[in-house]
């Protein structure tokens, strides 16, 4: 880890909001992935006669319209949402960093052409692209979240590419890079050894902000009926339909919203903390 980054970690540790965010996030993630296995929670077994039960000792989060344990559903749904967020972010980071670094490092015409592609994709309404990709895979996926990763990742890399490219453009003019060029190092070597370590900060910051954006996007898809099998977005979308003055099964909206909201809030805190700590521009 380079010196400024190490500095940043020290500063991050002083940011209580960010630390709390990280802790809560870790707790939620742990619960989602471990608790269902540990306690044998079952999100699928139906018991329609025990439907719409409010929270109780037997079902902490209540039950849904088919009498399934809502706690299990919320936790298992969290897996999908977190995985979608993570996987789409990783996709976007990989594509975005490579694209941005190559464009920024090459400069000149190559840079301009590559950035034109980015501009082009920016003009396509991202939701539209996602819907089309989802349609394309609806037959083969059977509700598996893989196409969602792909679709969401593919629309999220653009901003990453722009940010990285901007950083690389300025880095390229710095002495140590110039020195490496003069000493005859190849471009791949320079990008990997000298440039990428210096854009890690920005990438990390932006990636933390991409995860919540992706999770929200996934919930939009669920709202439109194009989502995946069981996710927070799906649960929230279903919950919205049953909160009504006539009869309110409030827990169906409350729990997934709470988990989703808390996760996104923590990610945002963490992202802010990271930015304050790592982003060179805010350094005093």
């Amino acid at each position: 880890m380079s010196a400024p980054a190490a500095n940043g970690w020290v500063r991050l540790r002083r940011n209580r909001a960010a630390l709390a965010g990280a802790a809560v996030l870790a707790a939620i993630t742990g619960l989602c992935f471990v608790a269902p296995l540990l306690f044998g929670l079952d999100p699928h077994t139906t018991d329609p006669a025990a439907r719409h039960l409010g929270p109780s000792g037997a079902h902490w989060f209540g039950t849904d319209a088919l009498g399934r344990d809502y706690l299990s559903r919320c936790l298992v749904g969290g897996r999908t949402s977190l995985l979608v967020g993570l996987a789409a972010t990783v996709t976007s980071v990989l594509v975005g960093v490579v694209w941005g670094a190559v464009a920024g490092y090459s400069g000149g015409r190559v840079d301009e052409v590559m950035m034109r592609f980015v501009d082009f994709f920016y003009g396509i309404p991202y939701m539209f692209l996602v819907i089309l990709i989802m349609l394309l895979f609806s037959e083969t996926a059977r509700g598996e979240p893989l196409p969602v990763f792909l679709a969401l990742g593919l629309v999220q890399w653009l901003t990453m590419a722009r940010i990285v490219r901007g950083q690389v453009l300025t880095l390229r003019e710095r002495e140590f890079v110039q020195a490496a060029i003069v000493s005859g190092a190849g471009p791949v070597h320079i990008i990997v050894r000298h440039i990428l370590p210096n854009v890690v900060n920005v990438v990390v910051v932006y990636a933390t902000l991409t995860v919540p954006a992706v999770i929200i996007l996934e919930s939009f898809l669920s709202f439109l009926g194009l989502g995946v099998k069981l996710s927070w977005g799906q649960l929230v979308a279903e919950g919205v339909a049953v909160v009504n003055p006539i009869q309110s099964y409030w827990w169906l909206l409350f729990w997934p919203s709470l988990l989703l909201g808390a996760t996104l809030l923590c990610l945002n805190f963490l992202g802010d903390g990271l930015r304050d700590a790592l982003d060179p521009r805010t350094r005093t």
Partner: protein, 668 residues
């Protein structure tokens, strides 16, 4: 700072001004009666309509020869003031109302109907619902045979030659069936009288030898020529002097191929509504839009803002305008169930047919303004009989016995739906479905699955249950998946696709189990049964059964088929005795009755096969339900017949003509 503030204010002003421009004056006044119509109508051209939302509007702005009386849903005089039916039930003579006019003042004449009905069958129009009146003489020939002749003489003959070259030593029947399916031969050759062709279509077993292929190939040109001749005659005469034609300005004659007990109901169906020839010929593609439309019904189309609303207003030129209770109607194309319910609860609409969030069914059903009753719709699961374990009748039966339908209707759908063990909904006049108790028998189911080769579900890949995206379907699919999982040990997953993908998966046969529903087109069991013929366009299960096919074909043409009918008896003598009844019949009326009884028996036998073979799992018969403002009058969720009995409104039809609001002039 000031610039920023100014900028914000300026954009606020612009936004509000633009928004203001989008509120059109015409819809600012609320209508007398407003209802949620689900999806946006694709069209209001009666010839091209396909669904209930469109039908609701079209039946309000057009009037057929007959219309439905709201309280009984019996056909009563509409554009025709009276009619006579010949004793053999094959000729209908309608006397048109001399005071009926189009909304531009022209009289509605018999020529208008003859032209409209010819247009419906015109192959150039491509009307999906043309088939609904194919019992009219020449209609089917005019509608389809031209295309058939062309296909048989051209591409089909070519493909068959290629097939013969490829399989000079004959081929397996499964390959032959694939060929039949791929080229839609069943549709193309439906109703052929050529014995060779009939036999080849019904082949289920063994090999097709080269000489049989050669015979089919040799029969094709003859069949094509025959159909071309029929088409040419029909094209020359249908709608002009045969089938349907105007004897004079006010007399319309309709000739049927076979007596059709529900023909007058068809005269109220949206496909048979008249269209204004003088406008359609000028604006063929968009004559039904507000600027150009001319109609003859109780309402006129005043405005149509796609995605927002359709505004109907009482027609001042309608002959029965004094009987029309509403001055204006708003038709809202809202698809979202929550939004629909919210609109109803806040009094923004007066009628919400069906589309409310399914989770709220219990509290809603307790409300006094809630109505429900059985519907002529069956909810069922298609089984893909091309894939194991569903290719084995025992596998299908195992699934059938492992589903707890009682639980589903009691705890999931919760509106008193009737669990279904057969496919034709109860309430068809004169028809009794074969006996088939609804039962769940897990031990038997497990035994059958084991016999089919998958004891305890072992060795079976994951089964998918496909449903189209909708809350209600999702719940049922998830419960059934869970039941199959727990009761049979199968690995089952419920998954959804949006409508077009779902249709494509069905048509391509790319599914294991898929949810489906079928709304009867008319009050007759045939509408639920004839789709299951081998390779039928809506069969999609890969299931085919020779005897079933023959029963359906025979039922469609009892007299034409009567020579071979005796073989169709299942051994219980039921077909035979009715056949004898028909042969004994003396006068035309008796013959008609005997023929109808035989026909229903044939259909009953066909349904019995379906229930035994189970290419589909019937789940339950629908209940139609909705919410309607108590101030709405003339809305009958239950029908009262003249004899005092009350029957359900099976088709959920509520003629807007009869509706009025009790609140009168009261301001809203």
């Amino acid at each position: 700072m000031y610039r920023t503030l100014l900028g914000v204010l300026a954009s606020l002003a612009v936004a509000l001004a633009v928004a203001g421009l989008t509120f059109t004056a015409s819809v600012e006044q609320s209508a007398d009666f407003r209802f949620i119509n689900g999806t946006e109508p694709r069209s209001l051209d009666p010839g091209l309509l396909t669904g209930q939302p469109e039908g609701r509007v079209a039946r309000a702005i057009f009037e057929g020869l007959a219309r439905l009386e709201a309280r009984t849903l019996a056909p009563v005089p509409g554009a025709a003031a009276s009619w006579e039916i010949s004793p053999d039930g094959r000729t209908y003579t309608f006397h048109l109302r001399p005071d009926a006019t189009w909304s531009d003042g022209r009289p509605v004449t018999a020529h208008d109907f003859a032209w409209s009905w010819r247009r419906l069958q015109d192959p150039a129009l491509g009307a999906e619902y043309a088939y609904i009146v194919h019992m009219i003489r020449h209609a089917r020939a005019f509608n389809l045979y031209g295309g058939h002749a062309e296909a048989l003489a051209g591409p089909i003959a070519g493909a068959l030659d290629a097939l013969r070259r490829e399989h000079s030593g004959g081929l397996e029947v499964s390959d032959w069936q694939a060929f039949v399916r791929e080229h839609g031969l069943n549709e193309l050759l439906k109703g052929t009288r050529n014995a060779t062709l009939q036999a080849s279509l019904l082949r289920q077993q063994g090999r097709i030898e080269a000489d049989e292929l050669a015979a089919v190939s040799a029969a094709l040109p003859g069949e094509a020529a025959h159909r071309r001749a029929l088409f040419e005659e029909a094209a020359r005469r249908y709608g002009i002097d045969a089938g349907v034609f105007a004897r004079d300005d006010w007399t319309l004659v309709v000739e049927l191929e076979a007596p059709t007990p529900y023909f007058l109901e068809l005269c109220t169906f949206y496909s048979t509504l008249p269209v204004p020839r003088h406008v359609v010929e000028v604006h063929p593609d968009d004559w039904f839009l507000p600027d150009t439309i001319v109609s003859n019904g109780p309402f006129v189309l005043a405005d149509w803002r796609v995605g927002d609303r359709i505004r109907l207003e009482r027609s001042e030129s309608y002959w029965g305008r004094d009987q029309v209770g509403l001055a204006s109607i708003d038709v809202l194309p809202v698809e979202n169930a929550t939004t629909s319910l919210n609109l109803y609860l806040t009094g923004a609409v007066d009628w919400l047919p069906g589309n409310y969030p399914s989770d709220l069914v219990e509290p809603l059903a307790r409300r006094p303004d809630f109505y429900s009753g059985p519907g002529m719709i069956v909810y069922y699961y298609r089984l893909n009989t091309r894939r194991p374990p569903l290719d084995d009748p025992r596998g299908r039966l195992a699934l059938n016995l492992a589903i707890d339908r009682e639980l589903i209707v009691r705890e999931v759908t919760r509106l008193g739906q009737v669990p279904a063990a057969h496919i034709v909904p109860p309430g068809m006049p004169g028809y009794e479905s074969p006996e088939s108790p609804v039962r769940t028998d897990l031990a038997e189911a497990r035994r059958l699955l084991a016999e089919a080769g998958y004891p305890g579900g072992r060795g079976m890949r994951e089964l998918g249950i496909l449903y189209n995206t909708q809350e209600g379907h999702k719940k049922i699919a998830e419960v059934i998946a869970d039941q199959l999982r727990r009761n049979l040990g199968l690995d089952v997953r419920a998954y959804n696709q949006e409508w077009q993908s779902y249709l494509a998966s069905g048509q391509a046969g790319e599914y294991d189990v898929m949810r489906a529903g079928w709304i009867g087109d008319y009050l007759d069991p045939n509408t639920f049964l004839d789709m299951w013929i081998s390779n039928g366009g809506n069969n999609q299960t890969g299931w085919s059964h020779a005897r079933f096919d023959r029963l359906i074909q025979a039922a469609a043409d009892v007299e034409g088929f009567s020579t071979g009918l005796a073989d169709l008896d299942a051994g219980d003598g039921r077909v035979r005795s009715r056949l004898e009844g028909l042969q004994r019949a003396g006068d035309a009326a008796e013959r008609r009755r005997a023929g109808a009884a035989l026909r229903l028996e044939l259909l009953r036998q066909a349904e019995a096969i379906l229930v035994q073979e189970l290419p589909i799992l019937p789940i339950y018969f629908y209940v139609v339900s909705g919410l309607v403002n108590p101030q709405v009058e003339g809305f009958y969720s239950e029908l009262s017949l003249p004899d005092g009995s009350r029957i359900p409104n099976l088709q959920d039809l509520h003629p807007l003509r009869a509706i009025r609001m009790a609140r009168g002039e009261e301001a809203r």
